[in-house]
Symmetry: C2
Subunit: 216 residues, 2 copies
């Protein structure tokens, strides 16, 4: 398979969500322009993104919604359940445990770990917290596909090294640091602090009020 940029994949997620949404309104077909409008992008971008994976549209008509939904789900690998381990049962970890969307999309949180012995043994949202020391063995035995790292920044690299050694090949990191993973391991970051600082930067460096007409 040719190389696919991660921005393209991120947009496919959006397209899928919008398509599933309009499908419930019994829309049978949607043009790239319509889809683009609902995803805040351009028609050309939509077509380029989809064309990477095949020819799904019909000229003059647009894209058949139910078929495209099925195709996107297949492309994104959403046809199966992925087994997820959550490392770190702090506030963020606990919030994720209750995030119903995850299970709906096929992500099953299968094991929860924490290094704090006060948390070990307790249950959150029906998930019993296990000790950090069982991490490697449980991950290796449980055929975990994805690890979510929700531990303090200092501990994050260590955790990711351990889960990767235990066979995990996809990691979602919430710690505000750049993690190093070997080639062949997928890594995504969610860095709320950095996003907030980006907003801070934007506010601090905002141009003085443009009294002209606001653009779209």
């Amino acid at each position: 398979m040719k190389k696919v940029s991660s921005s393209t994949v991120a947009r496919l997620s959006l397209y899928l969500r919008v398509l599933e949404d309009v499908a419930t309104d019994d829309v049978r077909t949607l043009s790239s322009g319509e889809l683009a409008k609902r995803c805040a992008t351009t028609a050309a971008q939509v077509r380029k993104d989809l064309s990477v994976f095949g020819t799904f549209g019909k000229r003059g008509t647009g894209y058949p919604v139910p078929e495209l939904v099925a195709q996107l789900r297949a492309i994104l690998g959403l046809g199966r359940t992925w087994r997820v381990a959550l490392v770190g049962a702090g506030r963020i970890g606990a919030a994720l445990l209750g995030y119903a969307d995850f299970r709906r999309q096929g992500f099953l949180i299968d094991a929860v770990f924490d290094a704090d012995d006060n948390k070990v043994g307790r249950s959150f949202q029906g998930h019993r917290v296990r000790t950090d020391r069982e991490l490697e063995s449980a991950v290796a035995a449980g055929e975990i596909d994805i690890a979510i790292v929700a531990v303090p920044a200092e501990a994050a690299q260590d955790v990711v090294d351990r889960v990767v050694a235990a066979g995990v090949r996809a990691v979602l990191n919430f710690a505000p640091v750049k993690l190093r993973v070997p080639a062949g391991v997928a890594l995504k970051n969610v860095n709320m602090a950095a996003e907030m600082e980006g907003l801070s930067f934007a506010l601090a460096n905002q141009e003085r009020p443009t009294p002209r007409r606001a653009a779209s």
Copy 2:
């Protein structure tokens, strides 16, 4: 001020974190190469990023850590407190309320809103939840700088329209949709579902095991 790419700003956040970290070890000076290594980027990238804002380094020596920390904090607008409104006191919202890092970095959650009358009046982490109907007036009166949108996808665009109309010019969106904001309003997105789907894509389309030596 010239245009600054948002990837540059995101990296500045990382640099700042690393620099604050090494500063506690009483490191006085750090080269672009060292900083790059700790941020998983390149020396040239570090220098390019910093050069956008001025000349901070000394040739032959590197960057003076305490001074650069101060400069980065100033650039990112972290010298002051930003007033934040949280809209949506669900799981994610509640997790953010307890996120101590926010306050430490100068983000003060000043008001919490929810549309669910069962939540209104209750307190989370010392923040009393107010009714969604007070949103506009409270935001306008409270001189809120940043709105965090942590409501269901269907409600997100409406919320952002309302807070923008009430004068907010920076928004952090957790809903899994692309929001539209007028020019002059900064918008950042945190889309966990999309990140997970990106991992799913990576796993589903992973090359067959490369039995060769793993690259760095």
